[in-house]
Amino acid sequence: MSSGTKDHAALSDIFNKDEARVDWHDETLWFVRAKRDKAAHNIPEWESLREAASQIKNNVLSNLHNYLIEFEEQAQKNGVTVHWAADAAEHNQIVHSILKEHGVNRLIKSKSMLTEECHLNEYLKQNEIEVIDTDLGERIVQLAQEPPSHIVLPCIHKKKEEIGELFHEHLGTPEGMADPVFLTAAAREHLRETFLTRKAAITGVNFAVAETGEFVVCTNEGNADMGAHLADVHIACMGIEKIIPKRKNLGVFLRLLTRSATGQPITTYSSHFKKPRPGQQMHLVLVDNGRTTQLSRPDFRNSLKCIRCAACMNTCPVYRRSGGHSYHTAVAGPIGSILAPNLDMKEYSDLPFASTLCGSCSNVCPVKINIHEQLYKWRQVIVKEGYADPTKKLAMKAMEFTLSSPFVYKNAGKVGRWFMKHAPFTVNNKLNLWYQHREMPEVPKESFEEWYKKNKKND
């Protein structure tokens, strides 16, 4: 998943070399945003639903300690084995030890962004355990040996022809076949065989109910259910922030989640797992991995309210034109850009700057996370912690010096317009990033201030 030394701007630059592809990517995701809008506008009380969801999540964060204990107690009563993992490494070890105990070296996994965050697949592979992702999009990127580029639509960056090629190579579909219906049918056959032969299944968790100890997994494909109901061992992995207080709160979240994500009124399957089926083992791994640190940051703890709908990605004009991989982290887009610096401030110091702060992300967020305000705040933290680019630091010092003093500013302005040298754009040359694809503003004969002094000052 590491992008080497390339940051978001450099990776976006590469993505933008193929403009037709950028247009295609942008239009595809805009289509999803449009579906979200239509679904939201069908619910006249949409904004009060968002407000309720936001308040429920605020309550969760303020009482998380007790809810976690309550959830564990109820889940154990239901016959579920509960594990606690402080970080990604411990999460991976716990999963591995459960598999070892059952002598399992092949398993299936439905979508879980947490296991992406923990790099579980790589870890298990190193331990000679084969993982097959069953969500179609995840299976496709897995065959391509790439990480997902989107948390809801993992292979949204891939064209059907490219998927056709992958399937031709790995599943033996006819060469040149790129029809989505045909390819989906091929994947169905291939994965059905896998479902029928794996003894362990991993799923993610969308919501875990403290009151009852049950957890809810939402899919459209039915892959989480196929996996869990056929396997002898079901391991569900969740971040500790996925807790909600009461079963009835699900009414609010299930109304919001899929409308925000894809514009559907609900996912095809919203499965409530409470007890293992007779003869089956059900394990649940509760993972911290930096969440308690994020909880300690008053400006950023709100990000833990996220329900992973990806509406902020679909609406983000930057994400649509830079692609998910440009964020070089498991959760891309605006929400990823406020989550990732908490995990590694140096590695992800570029992400809060990968935004125009347009604010559309905060408006679509079903739990009302102030995403764009947090992007702004992360910028301040990252600069203060010393992760800013040194040349930028110098430019900012020059700006501070000039702009805090009317005398310096006016004189700088007069000398060939100070701005031509110091504003985001400098003179017309190849090093000038403004000028590469944009003309410079035409320089007027006088500044407003000069005009004002001549024409108005003595009015």
């Binding site: 595809t28 006249p44 009380e45 303020s62 300690h65 169905r188 494909e221 500790i240 797992f273 008053p298």
Partner: protein, 193 residues
């Protein structure tokens, strides 16, 4: 210190001051005709809405559309058209079921989801592994929104339950909607008075 103790201690130390839960939301804009609303949404999401007068009509429909195929059902009213004694086999053995006919506790008008718990499935795998799913629903058992749905579920105990809305689907390849990703390729809802 165990990870459990460590995580809980950090949560306790870092969680903000208590914020209250909001008042419960209720349905604000009920559909004038919930059955019609349910039917419209179900059709939109790829399901098949079939109004029937009685179980005989269902039998007739099943024979017409699925005659000669492997049919399992949890409904005693459908013994004449379905396999007997299937309930206690290994779940993998249902991989070749062509049609499963089960019933739902209730449906939800706003999203055409059907609430079905384990006791109505007999085997959890059944509604997911079959090629086609059919669900019998009483017209009286259609609630307006998910708020009403959870009011109805209340504190009911179950090992497993699912809201199922339409056939299995995916749009992972270029946002093209395809029915029948891993689960049923089609879903029929038989609605009775």
């Amino acid at each position: 210190m165990t990870s459990r103790a460590q995580i809980l201690a950090k949560v306790l130390k870092n969680q903000p001051d208590t914020r209250p839960l909001p008042a419960d939301l209720l349905t604000v804009f009920p559909a004038a005709d919930p059955v019609q609303a349910f039917a419209t949404v179900l059709t939109t999401i790829g399901g098949n809405f079939v109004e029937v007068s009685d179980y005989q009509a269902i039998q007739k429909y099943v024979l017409e559309h699925f005659g000669g195929q492997r049919i399992v059902s949890t409904l005693p009213e459908l013994v004449a058209v379905s396999e007997q004694g299937w309930e206690h086999q290994d779940p993998h053995s249902y991989a070749n079921v062509d049609l499963a006919v089960i019933s739902a506790h209730f449906g939800v008008a706003e999203n055409a989801a059907l609430w079905i718990t384990e006791d109505l499935m007999h085997q959890r795998a059944v509604p997911f592994i079959c090629q086609q799913l059919a669900v019998v629903l009483s017209k009286k058992e259609i609630v307006q929104t998910m708020h009403d749905a959870y009011l109805k579920i209340g504190t009911a105990d179950y090992g497993f339950g699912s809201f199922i809305a339409g056939p299995s689907k995916t749009a992972d390849i270029e946002q093209s909607l395809v029915l029948g990703a891993h689960g049923p390729k089609g879903m029929t809802v038989f609605v009775m008075d």
